[in-house]
Symmetry: C3
Subunit: 271 residues, 3 copies
């Protein structure tokens, strides 16, 4: 079984190292991604020009590729940055936003997975089912409610296929490295009422992987525990006020998270 | 006269349907647009690649075209998405941000109106006067104070010319379908101190048109009632604190709007 | 010595003129830049298409060039806008985000400084050292802690070299026009925990330069006093809550700043 202390240790590590996390991400939630990266204790850099994507990835400690508002230029940048990260031993976190929703997205996802080695892939169930080659029913970029299925089985299978960590976020989050599988029970339904909570999960995963590149599984779990707990804390404080305050509360909570809060509130099960 | 109950019914409809609203919009306020779309109960998707603009529009229930930070690539995407929406019977909401401020904007607006059939056009008085072919005095993207004129007449004329709903937002909002004209008296001057309130109006209009594509007039009025009331509620709660809190209060209020609040606070007159 | 009343006078001037400030800036913090420009009393316009960059700059009262998420297209737009601003006597504020971090950024910065005449250049110590031709140690887009040095000397030297105002922001801000040098002691360490505070400084500088183009030195100092004081006020009010609320507090404070607050709280020294 994974040692609980490992998750709190990783949080302390992120806070002490302040690692640089390079993002090539969408322009919808990029500000939230930058701010949550700072709130957890890491340092964000966003740079998507083809001419510098490789240079910036090379000086970072992790690379987050998010295809939310991809275009033909940024897909090339993602591939170049991914190659540079691979060459430099820097972990790549891939967020296949909207995979299944258009041919362009499907092809971009396939190219990234074929041409780059990713350390972690994180998506909602629709996206991960598509990536896993299963039938998916993607409705825009939010998870389709029709998608059911055994998330543990899907994540485990995808992790084995890609040789990486696979994470499915939803009411319960599922993380597998192909052998171990952890279900995270923290979180709040209100998180689906705010844009970018998925993207922010990927930024947190990037932050943890940057601090401990050899512990992508534990880092991914720690990141999702942090997001889930932050969602609970934000809802307790601001859920009755409305979506705007709840969203600000997420950043507040992440910035105030410490090992005590994490220890007290984390809820997960391992199979 | 338009039945007041129609507006509350449409709000309930948006909340129950959670329709997908495709945006090709500017990167300044895109996060606010996504969050207000979620707050009213719809589901946003932002996608502007030429290769997928048509595919994404085809799976959405409404399309919002906002030319705030247009470039030569995204203008093409808007036209492709608009064509796809037209072919699929999906209503198009057009927000001609900054029309009149540059030749590029003027030509883009003309192409969109010539090549696409729009269901609703919404802008400030400067922009709508320009679109209507009247003399305009556009100062950047905010309404020029010098622009006066009878908004009802301008909106009615433009609605007839384009065969769509025309909405002019300002201290008083004006909505016309060429026959009926409604003036909305909700709102607060502080809304002009926050960026993106116009863009957010267009996202709300898109959300209502997505839920009831055959009621673009009523949907546009309902959307502007919601924004105006949210502005009042946000100011009551946070206006004394400052612009940042007021802005968050708008999202809070939209997410908490219900048929009772709408019924109690809506103020409009019909001519 | 610079007259203290000059700073409060300039704030009043911005508020009364509501000058238009054209930004070609990054998509990470662009919303914050627009909102802080409104909060200080100016009017933002963001437009980066090559086809209109010159037109929009020509109708603005200041131009802010920020290369945070530059790409080959927007670099051209910056150069065109800069040329238009120069021809029309409109002050250009240059924010060389991440200078030193990639060849592309270094070349873009060199082109902008060679082909455009800038009124103010503002960056953190890493960026300004790079621009000044000194050795820099740029870690992404945040200031590298290893960079020490006498900021007054560096700013003065750069100001003389470029014939402009040079500003280095950090724990203490330094502003020089090559003759006068002012150190600003307002501010709070929490500002480094939020993305975009540097970019927002540049937007405020643009707003002040727009209102008083012949007083770029005094305007830059006034802008940084405003940001520093807003950071202090935001921390007093919301620092204990977390990063999200602190960030909203910055906009609140800027919108509520007046000449009394500025007079009471400003802390600077002139050499």
């Amino acid at each position: 079984m994974t040692n609980t202390n490992e998750f709190t240790r990783l949080l302390t590590l992120v806070r002490s190292q302040k690692p640089l996390v390079h993002h090539i991400t969408n322009y919808v939630t990029v500000n939230d991604c930058a701010n949550i990266t700072l709130a957890i204790g890491a340092s964000p850099v966003m740079a998507d020009a083809i001419e510098e994507a490789g240079d910036i990835a090379a000086i970072a400690s992790a690379l987050v590729l998010n295809m939310g508002t991809l275009n033909s230029r940024t897909v090339e940048s993602m591939l170049i940055a991914g190659k540079s990260a691979n060459q430099n031993g820097i972990p790549v976190v891939f967020d296949p936003v909207g995979a299944g929703a258009s041919s362009m997205r499907n092809e971009a996802a396939a190219r990234i997975l074929n041409e780059n080695k990713v350390a972690v892939v994180r998506g909602n169930l629709s996206e991960i089912r598509f990536i896993a080659g299963l039938s998916a029913n993607t409705k825009g970029v939010d998870a389709s409610e029709q998608d059911g299925g055994d998330t543990g089985k899907i994540a485990r299978k995808l992790a084995q296929k890609l040789g990486c960590v696979a994470a499915i976020t939803g009411a319960v989050d599922t993380v597998s490295d192909g052998e171990r599988t952890i279900y995270i029970h923290n979180g709040h339904p209100a998180l689906s009422g705010v844009t970018g909570t998925g993207c922010m999960c990927s930024s947190l995963i990037g932050s943890f992987c940057a601090a401990a590149p050899n512990q992508a599984f534990e880092g991914t779990v720690a990141a999702l525990l942090c997001m889930g707990i932050a969602g609970e804390m934000a809802y307790e404080k601001a859920g009755h006020i409305g979506n705007g305050s709840f969203r600000i509360g997420i950043l507040d909570a992440v910035s105030k998270l410490d090992t005590n809060i994490l220890n007290e509130r984390m809820k997960y099960s391992e199979v």
